[in-house]
């Protein structure tokens, strides 16, 4: 009787454990998310380097404290009323969105359940956080990566976005309110 035959049950059990661990840690995270490309190949780098734009030129707080979010087509068409260059992507952007006045259906990396309340004003004005602290080097990126959308829940799984543990850790370190109702309203 060989070793395999002698310990057949244990070996098959361990094999099952190993296969599950490999699938759960390697394959599942890839299969769980759908990668949805952005509709326009936008480059933060070109806008900050060549056009000299700063984060707050497009992403700013309004007078009433509301976060302006992603700029609307009005903002884009201020510079892109005429093609800025000759690239095919620029032409597609002008023809598809600027000329017909159509808003770009950006994939939002931060899409979370509606009961999660986040205030940019509180984090910028009160906590004095820098954009990079949460968004990393997004402002220097050459292209926008695809949004990772959870196939089951439909919410974001993008690494650009902080998860709840990161929020809690930061709040704890800074002594900020950390109760459920601080974010879930």
């Amino acid at each position: 009787m060989t070793v395999f035959q002698k310990h057949r049950g244990q070996i098959l059990f361990v094999a099952g454990v190993l296969v599950a661990l490999a699938a759960g840690w390697r394959a599942f995270p890839v299969l769980r998310f759908q990668r949805v490309p952005q509709p326009v190949a936008f480059s933060h780098k070109i806008h900050t380097d060549k056009a000299g734009a700063k984060c707050e030129d497009c992403h700013f707080l309004r007078d009433d404290g509301a976060w302006a979010g992603i700029p609307a087509m009005d903002k884009c068409s201020g510079c892109h009323a005429q093609p800025m260059g000759t690239s095919a992507e620029e032409k597609r952007f002008i023809d598809g969105y600027v000329t017909p006045g159509r808003e770009v259906p950006w994939q939002v990396y931060s899409r979370q359940p509606e009961n999660v309340y986040f205030s940019h004003a509180a984090h910028i004005k009160l906590a004095h956080l820098d954009c990079r602290q949460c968004h990393g080097a997004q402002g220097e990126s050459e292209t926008l990566g695809p949004a990772r959308v959870d196939r089951i829940s439909g919410y974001s799984g993008s690494p650009h976005f902080q998860d709840m543990n990161a929020c809690e850790d930061c709040h704890r370190q800074r002594g900020a309110a950390n109760s459920c109702l601080a974010c879930h309203k």
């Binding site: 190993l18 609307a72 089951i152 829940s153 919410y155």
Partner: protein
């Protein structure tokens, strides 16, 4: 030796054990827990640029300024406008959720003729033919819930061209007629059933002045206003006028009624004082208090145009009745309207966004835009001492097949003008007069009309025009004839009708307990057809709490669900939207 069933089970067991040490079960648990949030049909706020837009609330006559936070083009939250002259930055619970009304399932979506969908042209032709068929003795009436608007002018013009047109208003549409209340200088309010702290006039204005006046509430029920008043005087239903007369006598030291004497003492100690609600005796009481035409009392304003009350229209005289039901507020008394119609030969047209209310009795239903779905107007805010006007720009996209009531009447009159044209004419007239000031919502500043170059544009961006105060002319106490409130009982209780039917607070949202933060337990569990009675009254009538019963009055009968509540006076039946009347109640 092959792969046996035992091997498969062993391998599967190992896999299951291994999975417990991976993110799989925990991620699946979390994802499936929020899965239903994104099912098809679950409304999702748009994602887009966040903007602030302004409008004016038309859900009630208060005319509150509205600041809407919009994501993309859709409002996601409403709030008051800081510094607004009428609302003082406050919105009532109904106003705060006004943008949800458009999603109501019971709304009229297309024109109906006798319950069947028709094209708007066919409905127009049918109503036109019915109007043309009216003889000289059959009148065509338009029931205008809020006279004094530009739409009211459209109605009056149309009716003036008919042989027998009647422009009429529901009961209590103009409770104080040509007068506003100088609440800022009032030191005492004697209220006969008026919901002073529960949505009366402009709630923000009342709350801003609450610390300046004593409030005496004369009411049969321990209502939310009664419980917050400085003094509650419980009276028998229908005896409000008698108590007002007793207070008037007590002001001159001529009564032995201890309650009336106490009330008179408070009024004399806190002048200027006013009496609100009630009937003719309350008008007399105001004359005795000297509260008409003086600071702190009732002050006249310019914009009043008298309208016939529907109650004074002769019975069985209306051949075609057009009912505008776009404005929220008290339910229209169908029993009263029915009495005015020519039996079996009349046509009722409901101009309404709802499929309930008068639409249930209408031959034609013309679907109207819901609040915030089309450009509308708000006339003088309720109780304002000066005339006012504001536009209510649309914040929502209206579905197709809707027709604003004024537009429908314009088409009946073969007038090529549109409703916005009429509103533009109204704004142009204000600009031409050059009188008064305009308060603009975005910057919370006031400017004189003549200093605003484009008044129409300013009004569309959110603004209210306020006239100059009216100082000219002599005002007498007797001029204050029109008052809101419960009229006395038409008939005393009889053996057949041993109880009195009285009106309950409106159900939410128009009578929301959120306004006063006071909850009556019976109000929280009140169904739409509730009849609230004192437990002793209920038991005397052989009823139990929660029982189904029939209320009978001289006007007819209707089914109810009985709710016991010790806050209701013994001998009374409290039902929403009912006028005072003798009645009986028995088990169904």
């Amino acid at each position: 030796m092959g792969f046996t069933r035992r091997d498969l089970l062993t391998f599967t067991g190992g896999s299951a054990a291994g999975l417990m040490f991976t993110p799989v079960p925990w991620s699946l648990l979390r994802d499936t827990a929020v899965l239903s949030e994104n099912w098809p049909g679950v409304p999702q706020p748009l994602h887009g640029e966040i903007r602030t837009r302004y409008s004016t609330c038309t859900l009630c006559p208060a005319g509150c300024g509205v600041r809407a936070r919009c994501v993309g083009d859709r409002p996601v939250s409403l709030a008051g406008v800081s510094g607004h002259p009428a609302s003082r930055g406050v919105l009532c619970p109904a106003g705060l959720v006004g943008h949800h009304l458009a999603f109501c399932r019971d709304r009229a979506a297309e024109p109906l003729a006798n319950g069947r969908p028709v094209a708007i042209e066919r409905a127009l032709a049918g109503v036109s033919a019915a109007i043309a068929a009216c003889g000289a003795r059959e009148s065509v009436a338009i029931l205008d819930p809020r006279p004094g608007r530009a739409a009211s002018l459209v109605y009056r013009r149309f009716l003036a061209g008919l042989p027998s047109g009647v422009h009429c208003a529901p009961p209590n549409a103009e409770p104080y007629g040509a007068f506003g209340i100088d609440l800022e200088n009032t030191r005492a309010i004697l209220s006969f059933g008026a919901p002073v702290l529960d949505g009366w006039l402009s709630p923000g204005r009342v709350l801003a002045n609450r610390s300046h006046f004593q409030l005496i509430q004369v009411e049969p029920a321990y209502s939310r206003t009664a419980s917050l008043a400085d003094l509650w005087v419980p009276v028998l239903p229908g005896s409000e006028d008698g108590f007002a007369a007793a207070v008037a006598r007590a002001l001159e030291g001529e009564t032995s009624d201890t309650h009336a004497t106490e009330v008179a003492r408070i009024l004399l100690r806190n002048k200027p004082a006013i009496a609100v609600g009630g009937g003719a005796a309350v008008a007399t009481l105001n004359a005795k208090l000297g509260s008409v035409g003086r600071p702190g009392g009732f002050l006249p304003r310019r914009d009043f145009t008298p309208v016939t009350g529907i109650a004074s229209v002769p019975d069985r005289s209306i051949g075609v009745l057009l009912i505008e039901e776009t404005a929220g507020g008290e339910p229209l008394p169908w029993d009263l309207l029915r009495r005015k119609l020519i039996p079996q030969d009349s046509v009722v047209v409901a101009l309404t966004p709802w499929l309930d209310g008068c639409a249930r009795h209408a031959d034609y239903v013309i679907p109207a835009p819901m609040y915030l779905e089309s450009l509308d107007e708000a006339p003088t805010p309720a109780g304002s001492t000066v005339a006012g006007f504001s536009l209510s720009p649309a914040l929502l996209t209206a579905p197709p097949k809707l027709t604003p009531p004024a537009e429908f009447v314009l088409r009946l009159a073969h007038d090529s003008a549109t409703y916005p044209d009429i509103l533009k004419q109204r704004v142009a007239a204000i600009k031409k007069d050059g009188r008064g000031t305009v308060f603009t919502y975005p910057d919370a500043k006031s400017a004189r009309v003549r200093d605003i170059p484009d008044l129409w544009k300013a009004m569309l961006g959110g603004a209210v025009w306020l006239d100059e105060p009216l100082h000219s002319g002599t005002v007498r106490g007797a001029d204050l004839q029109v008052c809101a409130g419960p009229p006395g009982p038409a008939l005393p209780p009889t053996p057949e009708y041993p109880l009195l039917l009285i009106a309950a607070d409106n159900p939410p949202p128009h009578g929301s307990p959120l306004m006063s933060k006071l909850y009556r337990e019976s109000g929280l569990r009140r169904p739409a057809n509730a009849a609230t009675v004192h437990p002793k009254t209920g038991r005397d009538q052989g009823l139990e709490d929660g029982a189904r019963a029939i209320v009978t009055s001289p006007s007819g009968k209707f089914p109810v669900q009985v709710i016991f509540d010790a806050a209701v006076m013994p001998g009374a039946i409290e039902v929403v939207g009912q006028a005072i009347s003798p009645a009986s109640i028995r088990r169904a």
